[in-house]
Structure formats: C-alpha cells, structure tokens
Symmetry: C2
C-alpha cells in the first residue's frame, strides 16, 4: 500500500510538475563542477576553445559532463557574452528554387562556422512586422535574401548596430551592404548570344519593376543589344512568377510581330513562357521561339525545358555574404559595399539547335 502511493507520487511528479518547468532546465555547469570537484569557472573554461585548463582537469571535467549528459546552455552563454552566434536569415519566395538553393547554401555555410540560422519566412507585405522579433533575439547579423523584400528591416537592423547584408538585391541607401550577381553583365551575355544567333525580333520579360535585379538585367540586356544594333521590340512584366510569366508570354506571343527570341528575367518566367509557347501557340523551342532565363536554377536543367540561363553561383554569393557580414570590424566600421559576383551564361537547347537533335 505504502509502496503504491510512493510510486504514484513519483509518477505525478515526473509528469504534471516537471514536464514544462523543470525538465528543460537540465544539468548545468554547477552539477558538472561538483562531480568533477572543480569550480564552475573551470568547467566553463574547459568548454571554451582557447581557454586555459590543464589536461587532467579537462579530462576529469569532460568525463563528468559526459556522465551527466551536460550540454552548455547557449542562451546563458549568449547573454553573458553579449553575442548569440545567431544569424537572422530572412527569405521570401521559397517556392522559387533559386532562393531555396540560396537558403540551403547559406545554412550549410553558417553551420560550418558554428553559427545558427534564425529563419524568418517573409510574406513580403508583412515583413516589417518581423522586425521586433529579429531585433529581440539579438542576432549577430542579418541576411536578407529576396528580390521583393522591403528595405525597412535592413535599415532598422543596421541602425540598431546589427550588421546586415542583402543577397541578390540592393537598395538606394548606400548604408547597406549587398551581394548580387553581375546582372548587367549576365544579361549582356544573353544579348550577345541572341545577336550571334541572328535573332532580330527580340522580347524582354521583366520581373518586378521595383526589383534591382530585374532593372539591372533589363539595362544590361538593352545596352548590349544596342552594341549589336539591336533593340527590344516587345516587353512585358511577368512579376518573377509562373503565373505572371504565363500571362506575359501570352501577351507577347499573340502580337503580329511575335519575337523570335525572348529573354526572361528569371527561370520561372522562362519555363512558363516555354509552356505557353508550346501548348497555346504550338511553337517549337527553339526553332520558332528561343527562350533564355536567369538564375540557372534546377528548373533550367530539366530536360523538358533545357533552358539556356545565366548561372548566379549561389555558393559564391553565400560565401561573399557571410564574409561581408562577419568580417572582423577592425578599426572603424567598414563602409557598406556592393559585392558583385560574376555570372556565367549556360547554353542549353532552348536557344541552341544541338547537333544530336
């Protein structure tokens, strides 16, 4: 009887009471210190990379830690060190494989540097509501990736003293660093290709008018075309999406002077254009219509599209972003800079008649 009650009480304790409150507060450095017969300071030193601790003390502490399943509390460490090792990563448009890729690379690179990513999936319109949350976690830096995200977040973080870097986008404000592909040059390579292939009637499909990437691609495309004595004869806005691209493609392809070649400001619009051209206009790609995209995302490589596209080198972009963010601020805060990553045209069958075909 007595035993039964005792067992009940234990069960009660370990569920109702402990579960939310005491459970998460696991063993701490005190427990380890006691078991190892040292002070908390020493435990802390053993778990700190460059700190002094004799080999045998270290070993004793480690053994005790193992035994207790001790795992240092990064939250407490963050508070104490005034550094969280947390990087805010803000992305929109995860449905665009290019941004999914960027996020993946950034995540991996951060982990390699033992930093953790605090992810915020931004609804472009509601992005600014995230600002207090990002700020409150005292992240050591912020990476904002997405063509259409507001720049208010960047400015607020910056003025709160948090390093910020924009990826694939820049702002008018010269306070904010960013890493972008060389959109002008990349688009120029497409223009050159079109010119060399002998296309005369040329279309351009813009993304979002407010996106620097779209504007730069259009600019680079036009000036290089001009070098060859060519110009854009049809222009539509496709908003960087599949649906927008499809609409824009319809508008472009039903014109009497239908283009022979279209350059779309990203791959999603380019694949949509190919789809519409084939299914609604019965056009062959590239014989009746050549299409080029931008990003060289996973879509471009699919055999059903074989899309000529400009590769942005997401790995390099991510690396440059981290470097910019984490550069030891020696002396004065370095001025904001725009890092431009070279882009490279990748030719596929959507613009080129392959011998094998």
């Amino acid at each position: 009887m007595c035993r039964l009650v005792f067992v009940d009480a234990r069960a009660y304790n370990s569920t109702n009471i402990n579960i939310r409150k005491s459970m998460p507060s696991r063993t701490n450095s005190n427990d380890v210190a006691r078991l190892a017969g040292v002070s908390r300071s020493t435990v802390s030193r053993v778990f700190t990379d460059g700190a002094y601790a004799s080999a045998e003390t270290s070993e004793r502490v480690m053994k005790a830690a193992d035994q207790l399943g001790y795992c240092p509390n990064a939250i407490a460490r963050s508070l104490s060190m005034n550094r969280t090792s947390l990087i805010g990563v803000i992305v929109g448009e995860l449905d665009n494989p290019f941004y999914a890729d960027i996020l993946q690379v950034i995540g991996v690179k951060l982990q390699q540097r033992r930093l953790a990513s605090l992810l915020f999936v931004a609804n472009p319109s509601a992005m600014d509501t995230l600002i207090p949350q990002v700020l409150s976690y005292r992240v050591d830096g912020v990476i904002i990736s997405g063509a259409t995200l507001s720049s208010k977040m960047a400015l607020r973080c910056q003025s709160a003293g948090i390093p910020v870097v924009l990826v694939n986008r820049y702002t008018d404000s010269d306070l904010i660093s960013s890493v972008v592909g060389d959109n002008v040059d990349g688009a120029g390579q497409v223009a050159r290709l079109f010119a060399e292939r002998g296309y005369r009637r040329i279309g351009f499909m813009a993304g979002l008018p407010e996106a620097s990437s779209s504007r730069d691609r259009e600019h680079g495309f036009r000036i290089k075309l001009a070098d060859f004595g060519l110009s854009v004869s049809a222009r539509e806005v496709g908003s960087f999406t599949l649906e927008g691209g499809a609409r824009a493609a319809r508008a472009m392809l039903c014109r009497p002077d239908r283009p022979e070649a279209v350059f779309c400001a990203n791959d999603m619009m380019a694949t949509a254009t190919i789809d519409i051209a084939r299914t609604e206009f019965n056009l062959r790609i590239p014989e009746d219509l050549a299409v080029a995209g931008y990003d060289n995302s996973s879509l471009a490589g699919m055999l059903a599209y074989q899309l000529t596209s400009v590769d942005q080198n997401t790995t390099l972009m991510a690396e440059a972003a981290l470097e910019n963010l984490l550069q030891p601020s020696l002396g004065a805060k370095p001025p904001a800079q725009v890092v431009r990553i070279p882009s490279k045209l990748v030719e596929r069958a959507s613009t080129t008649l392959l011998a094998a075909n």
Copy 2:
C-alpha cells in the same frame, strides 16, 4: 593639444573597443524604467501579455520605450523563463520543392504563434553532428522533416525532454510522434487509377529503401493492385532524386516487357522518368507510357509534365505537426502518436488522355 588627445581616445573607444562589445548591448529595461520613473519589474510587466499594470503607467512606460528604441531582450527572457520560444527545424533535401514548401508553411505557422525557427539544413550523413547545437539552444521543440534523416537526433532530443515531431517520416521507435501523409491510401488511389485505365504491365519506382514513405507507398500500391488482380512487373530504386530516377527509368524502359504505366514514389523521380522516356526512348506520355508521381509538388503542375500525383496537403501536415508539438502537456505526457493526413490523387495529362488533346 589636450582636446585632440581626448577626441582621439573617444574615437578609439567607439570603434575598436565598442563596436563588438558595447554596441549590441542596447538600451535595457533599466534605462526605460529610469526614464519612465518606475521599476524594472513594472517595465517587464508592461511588456508581458497578461500582467498587471495600470493604464497610465503602461502608457508612460511605452512612451519611454519608444523614445529609447527599447526592444526587450529575448535571450535574457528565455534564460529567465526557462523557455526560448525557439523551435528547431531540421530539414534536408531543400532541393526537393516539396520540402521547400513544407519549410515555408512551417515557418509561417510558427511565426503566427510568435515562435521563431532555428533552422538546420542537414546533410543526412552529418546530421548527428548538429545534435549538440540543437540541444544547446534549449529549443522548445524540434521538427524534423526529411525522408532520409537519421532518427538519432529525434531520440536524443526526446530523451532530453524536448518535444519532437517528425514530418513525412516515422520511426520504429514508438516514442516519437510524427505526421505523415496517408501513403498507403494515396498509393492505393494510384493503383486504382491504373487499374481503371486498363494498364496491365505496371512499374513501381521506389525512393530510398530505408524511408518509411517509400515503403508505405509501395505497400499501398501493391495491395490495391492485388485487389484488381494486378501486380508490379518491374521495380527499380530511384533514391528520390532526379539522377536516381533517370537511372531507374532507363533500367525500367529498356526491358522487353516495358511497363505501360509507372508509379514513382515522388515527383522528382516521376519527372525524370518522363524526361528519359521522351528523350531517350521516344515515348509519348501518356499514350506510350503513363507516369504518376507523389507529393503534387510544384513540379507536377508544370505544363511540360502535367504529372498525375498524390497531393500531401503540406498546410495540414504543418498544422498537425505544430499542434502535436505544442499541445499543452496536460497531465501525463501524451504518448507518441502518428498522425496521418489524408492524401488526394490529382489527375493530370501524364496518365489521362484529355479531350482537349
């Protein structure tokens, strides 16, 4: 002279020393309290949802906070409350649009509940190295999404008292909750479709043999086929990837008794199969080969594929995962459970001859 030195010292301070050290330590509740003429306790209460504070005190505090740009320190709050409002989100395979979508939905849902996502992009083979990091941040819960991720992470977190939920995968251990689509039923719907369309030679392309999703889909497919007196006449393993799917498709399509219809355990393998069938075997889809996939990811909807696929309802899956994770643990810790979300076949032209065609 004296002034010059003084100025130099200030400049020195505000760059070399302060930049990393003092900058991030922004105004705190003490500053606000002083300006508002109240105690830190009161400031804290004003910023706590259900806490007592008179209207006028509240207003005074808020005004002071605004003036100073005060933003409560979530790290300090976490330490003090023994709760971080951080949810560890572990994903692999972000190159699969289905998982990118899952991540997006989870991110948005977490934000709605004022939780932040601590993201870890897992290299399946190196996943276990993340365990200490996840544990150290004292996350309030962990969501693991990915067919191929090790279950060690889940077990370690669970035994550390952190609620865990697996998405799109379950383990043999009945300690761990998970949310999965109804793979058996979903695959059964594909079997029924194939049977009704009159296909006799039927292929199945597995994902990874160790993934519960792949096994369940195969199982559900086979038993429903059997109901119709049919069976799988060709089986290959495509590892859930484009490349693996392409290899498996080649193996399957060069057989003398080439299948009339293939069910692939995910969309990526299915699109690869369509690509290979068309380009290397000159087959028409669906006249010469019907193909169905699983996930109904963004790939399935692309016009170049028009892939019949089983929709997993990522929104519902994400909601169920959060609910399971965050359910108030009333009384005893609820036993681990497997939540099964209904799946729905979406027919497209890859299996159906449309009238318009």
